[in-house]
Symmetry: C2
DNA sequence: TTGTATGCGTTATCAT
DNA sequence: ATGATAACGCATACAA
């Protein structure tokens, strides 16, 4: 069943059928009804491929997601997909892992499928070595690229993010001001965003005249950063004589591990130990006590990504960099 | 840059270029090299829409997901996307909410985009009222439909699931055999799968000659089933004089609420209260104590969905219904 | 308002 | 082994 079949049955030309299909105003009410009747009667649906070929778009956005099972990213996925669909765009999902090659292939894949735009989800896409970002520059030559929680100065690349440095800075200040002096910092990532957070941590100490003990900075490999691993590592640190009266983490899941440590070590939270997570994810309500965390405005970021994408596709001038401000959501793991 | 440009530069016809592109054996090694050189030199990529129009497929699978931020479904999403991509298929994601209309529209959307197959993620797609499943029957007329954790007897519809009834039955038996006599059952869904679980619960009681107190069956609305709501409801039940020595839930998140209740009520787990969840999701390692839960073999189910889909698309005969057996994973919330 | 004809970039059939 | 040409199903510029 194609447009020729419809035109024949309705006794009109395919051009007229096409006009009806596309709500052209240049169709008499009579013909429109006649054609619509045939269309509805046959259940005809235009062939998307032919349409795509002619218009050179299938209204599709490519979503590159390092890990769709991560609470933060899966939440972003939900927000993005809904907002894009409301704008009439479908989402092609590609879960790359973190390896550079995989990400490059992911971008290639989306490019080859002729998506209208690409969203790179998470700061892990931007590498320190500039040459390793070439694939992004390359992709941006054919389609607009929008970064979720990252920035990258390049034509046709747009970044929408949370000011992680400031957010961590404020979280750290809040700990220092509540009397904590030795704040353990657990983090997952050493990339740009990761270093920004670390800077926020250091600055806060400088602002309050507290010296940073480098032993308090504790890196976890992405894969090895399981809840149990964090707990065991902290137990070991304690046994090794490291003192700390607070834990600040670059992701909520690491805080879950910290709470497990506290339980295992018999330390009361928040009386003996304060804990602050990052992302304000659904995990926060699951822990006991419930986790104080930094809300990094994911919903706002996602909405703005879609707005930006639509604007760019519309040929409008759009800001290349948008920054939201995080907010500390106090729950039960802080005083 | 299209196939004509390449053919011109390589001094061959477009047919030859197409043959090279598709690895046809009927090309001399010499021409192949010549054409490949031009292709690589120009960075030419075939137009996916034109290809789709000719082949009537773009190798795309439609994933209908009620909630991509749900831990269980987002994990499934990750498994499915990776497996499909390994088979050369991309995934179009559509997050419908649970409303019937939204699901119908979701299916329509995927159909109109000419996906090669559709995966309906989660048992919530199958309604009790047979007429409300017409949209599935309808979709199955044009593309194979595979249900994740559901079954539906209809041509071109395939179900891959876990035997929820048996799994809940065994979980219940394990509680009864450990001495529990009043097992509170918390559940989210009254659909087919939901009722199966309930049957497993009832049967176990019958098998052990324990009577079921209907007051122990506690339904939570999907939206209202937040962790806090569960906690507060259980506190109220206790205040109302309801006794229970175990909690079994149809989803892990409900168990998280039960653990919160235990904490608030000062009941020790598992000594005073046993708790068993369902899904064996990443939440299990996050709670304190860690949650005993039913592993419903999500990975195996997803792998099998992809295998089935590939087989069907290959024209092979495939089983319409596949059932995996769940497994109780004991952690710290049971004796 | 409606119809005709052409282009979109492939793949595939049929010659050569 | 290679080339010419016809689908594939739509949108649209142009003609009527």
């Amino acid at each position: 069943m194609n447009i020729y079949d419809i035109s024949r049955r309705a006794g009109v030309s395919i051009a007229t059928v096409s006009r009806v299909l596309n709500n052209s105003p240049h169709v008499s009410e009579n013909t429109r009804k006649k054609v619509m009747a045939v269309i509805e009667g046959t259940g005809y649906v235009p062939n998307a491929f032919a349409r795509g070929l002619g218009l050179n778009t299938m209204k599709t956005i490519g979503l590159l997601c390092p890990d769709a099972s991560d609470p933060y990213l899966s939440q972003a996925l939900t927000y993005l997909e809904r907002a894009f669909r409301q704008q009439g765009y479908d989402c092609l999902l590609s879960c790359t892992d973190k390896a550079l090659l995989a990400r490059q292939q992911g971008v290639e894949l989306l490019k080859s499928r002729h998506v209208d735009g690409i969203v790179l989800m998470g700061s892990s896409f931007i590498e320190d070595d500039p040459s390793e970002n070439d694939y992004i520059r390359d992709a941006a030559r054919s389609v607009p690229v929008i970064l979720l929680n990252a920035a990258f100065p390049c034509d046709n690349v747009y970044g929408v993010q949370c000011d992680d440095q400031r957010a961590v800075n404020e979280a750290t200040l809040s700990l220092l001001d509540s009397g904590c002096r030795r704040i353990l910092y657990l983090y997952h990532s050493r990339n740009y965003s990761g270093r920004k957070k670390l800077t926020g941590y250091r600055d806060a100490h400088a602002q309050r005249g507290v010296e940073v003990d480098e032993k308090l900075l504790c890196f976890f490999d992405q894969d090895k950063g399981s809840v149990h691993q964090v707990r065991d590592t902290l137990l070991q640190l304690e046994k090794d004589g490291l003192c700390f009266d607070a834990v600040l983490t670059s992701e909520d899941i690491l805080s879950v591990g910290a709470l497990k440590y506290a339980r295992a070590a018999g330390r009361r939270v928040p009386e003996d130990l304060s804990v602050i997570g990052y992302n304000n994810s659904s995990l926060c309500a699951c822990t006991e006590p419930e986790l104080t965390s930094v809300d990094n405005k994911l919903f706002a970021i996602c909405e703005h990504i879609v707005t930006t994408m639509m604007g760019v596709l519309d040929g409008k001038e759009m800001p290349q960099k948008t920054v939201f401000t995080g907010e500390l959501v106090k729950r039960e793991t802080t005083k």
